[in-house]
């Protein structure tokens, strides 16, 4: 009987994949090998919540608000100007974009793009995972729940997954002078 119950519970709990609960403090490059986006970021609760914290720490809110968009484009919708693939989002965050997105990876892809410091690589990956979770592209069981502030949007783990569409940036999105 005990064995049977144990089996039932292991089955249920196994849905909580171990790596989802891993807390990777000393994570990723330069200490680790190649980036395992799925395991280490997209489905990892700790990485996603760190991404959420960095999102406000690095003032992404300033332009994108809580994902609803403002000066910058909204992140909660299905539209992606430069592609929704992790590598593409990573590239956008690292090198910036011409229409006002600053570069967080140390060097810009083109002159005229504002460079604000160098966010360590694994933190950029955490941001990527979180930004994608804003449009429901992360595991619901790992995405952050509601935060302890005024609610401006449904929690990430309740966001219906959007099917990404690559749409060129509208002309009216321009670099804020």
């Amino acid at each position: 009987m005990v064995r049977r119950a144990l089996a039932v519970f292991t089955a249920c709990s196994l849905l909580v994949a171990c790596e989802r609960e891993e807390r990777q403090f000393r994570s990723a490059p330069p200490f680790g090998g190649p980036v395992r986006f799925e395991e280490d970021y997209q489905n990892n609760a700790h990485a996603l919540s760190e991404g959420k914290r960095l999102y406000s720490a690095f003032n992404c809110k300033g332009c994108h608000a809580d994902g609803g968009g403002g000066i910058g484009p909204p992140l909660m919708d299905e539209k992606w100007f430069y592609g929704s693939e992790p590598e593409q989002v990573f590239d956008t965050i690292s090198k910036g974009r011409e229409n006002g997105m600053p570069a967080f990876g140390g060097e810009a892809r083109a002159p005229g793009i504002n460079v604000v410091g160098t966010v360590p690589e694994h933190q950029r990956w955490q941001l990527v995972a979180y930004v994608r979770s804003l449009s429901g592209l992360a595991s619901r069981n790992a995405a952050p729940g509601r935060n302890d502030h005024m609610q401006t949007k449904p929690p990430e783990n309740e966001k219906e997954p959007e099917t990404p569409v690559v749409a060129p940036p509208p002309p009216d999105v321009v670099l804020p002078k």
Partner: protein
């Protein structure tokens, strides 16, 4: 055998009474402030009473044990009435004594509480301490609106003038922390959404350690702060220094190049250095980093080696800390350290 147990335990109780040769930088029984001192007095009263009670009860048990062994196994369902009455009186007496003692203790506690709350607050200095996971933001307020430019922020280190009452306004930006400097006063929780405050007066100079006393996550253990009580003059000197912006470094000097590294690495995103464009509020203010004897919320001494280790691999020292690892080229690291060490 139980008398042995009793003596063993009693010996330990005495050890407790005597055992106060603890570390003097953070000890409840080595008060350096008026409140800690009053609590200390109350502490001894309570402890003396408790040890006395303990010894008496254990003695009673021990005596019963040695004098009432033999005799028949025939169970006694109706013990002789006279003896029972005697015991009844004894028990009633003990209970009465207990009630009186407790009442005394209650009064003593209430009086002490009142005296702790009524700390004379003339010429009070106000310091706002904000708990973060896992460090302390310390802001010296200026009551006078004209003097606002004199308000400044530092971290994990609080200087106070000896003999003057200081009002601490406590708040938290994330989870519950608790502000505690044992030598000076008991703890006060910092609860998000609730403003709390505590008044402290150090009566002798010295460096006293405090530590977060409410579990707050991975690095709760390494969330320390230091309170330096110093004579008024020294304190004013320190204030004057802290109010200055970071000193300019000579152009082309290694410090200057280090500043460049700082501004284009991740440091600038989280830390503030007044007088530069670095204005991040996520991490501790570094304007006068080099003037602080310890870094990493009191975990490491502020030496070049420690600083280097802390910048490159903080998680080796404090796993889970918010500070990210910064893989820097050796050259960049050296000039960065030069710069940080110049922030006196």
């Amino acid at each position: 055998m139980n008398s042995r147990a009793a003596t063993l335990a009693a010996a330990m109780a005495l050890l407790a009474a005597a055992g106060c040769a603890g570390p003097e930088r953070h000890s409840v029984v080595d008060p350096a402030g008026v409140q800690a001192d009053r609590i200390h007095g109350l502490w001894w009263l309570y402890l003396a009473v408790c040890v006395a009670v303990y010894v008496l009860v254990m003695a009673a048990v021990a005596v019963a044990l040695v004098r009432r062994r033999g005799g028949s196994d025939q169970p006694l369902t109706a013990p002789p009435l006279a003896a029972e009455v005697r015991r009844g009186i004894a028990v009633a007496g003990c209970v009465g004594l207990t009630v009186v003692t407790l009442f005394v203790l209650l009064i003593a506690d209430f009086v002490t509480g009142r005296r702790i709350d009524s700390l004379a607050r003339e010429g009070t200095l106000t310091v706002r301490v904000t708990g973060h996971q896992w460090w302390w933001e310390v802001r010296y307020e200026e009551s006078d609106p004209q003097q606002q430019h004199n308000a400044f922020t530092t971290a994990n280190e609080i200087h106070i003038p000896t003999g003057r009452a200081v009002r601490f306004e406590l708040e938290s930006t994330d989870v519950i922390h608790s502000f505690w400097v044992p030598n000076l006063h008991g703890k006060t929780d910092m609860i998000p959404g609730h403003r709390t405050k505590t008044d402290i007066r150090a009566d002798r100079d010295g460096e006293f350690w405090g530590q977060c006393a409410e579990f707050c996550g991975h690095q709760h253990a390494n969330m320390r702060l230091r309170v330096i009580a110093q004579p008024e003059a020294e304190f004013q000197k320190w204030l004057a220094e802290q109010r200055q912006p970071a000193r300019e470094s000579a152009p082309k000097s290694s410090q200057d190049r280090g500043k460049g590294v700082f501004m284009k690495s991740s440091c600038v995103l989280c830390h503030t250095i007044t007088g530069t464009q670095a204005g991040g509020r996520v991490g501790p203010d570094l304007t006068h980093l080099a003037s602080r004897p310890r870094i990493a919320a009191g975990t490491l001494e502020n030496t070049r080696g420690n600083l280097a280790e802390w910048v490159t691999d903080p998680h080796g020292i404090k796993p889970g800390v918010r500070m990210p690892a910064n893989p820097l080229a050796p050259e960049d690291l050296h000039v960065l350290l030069d710069y940080l060490e110049s922030l006196k």
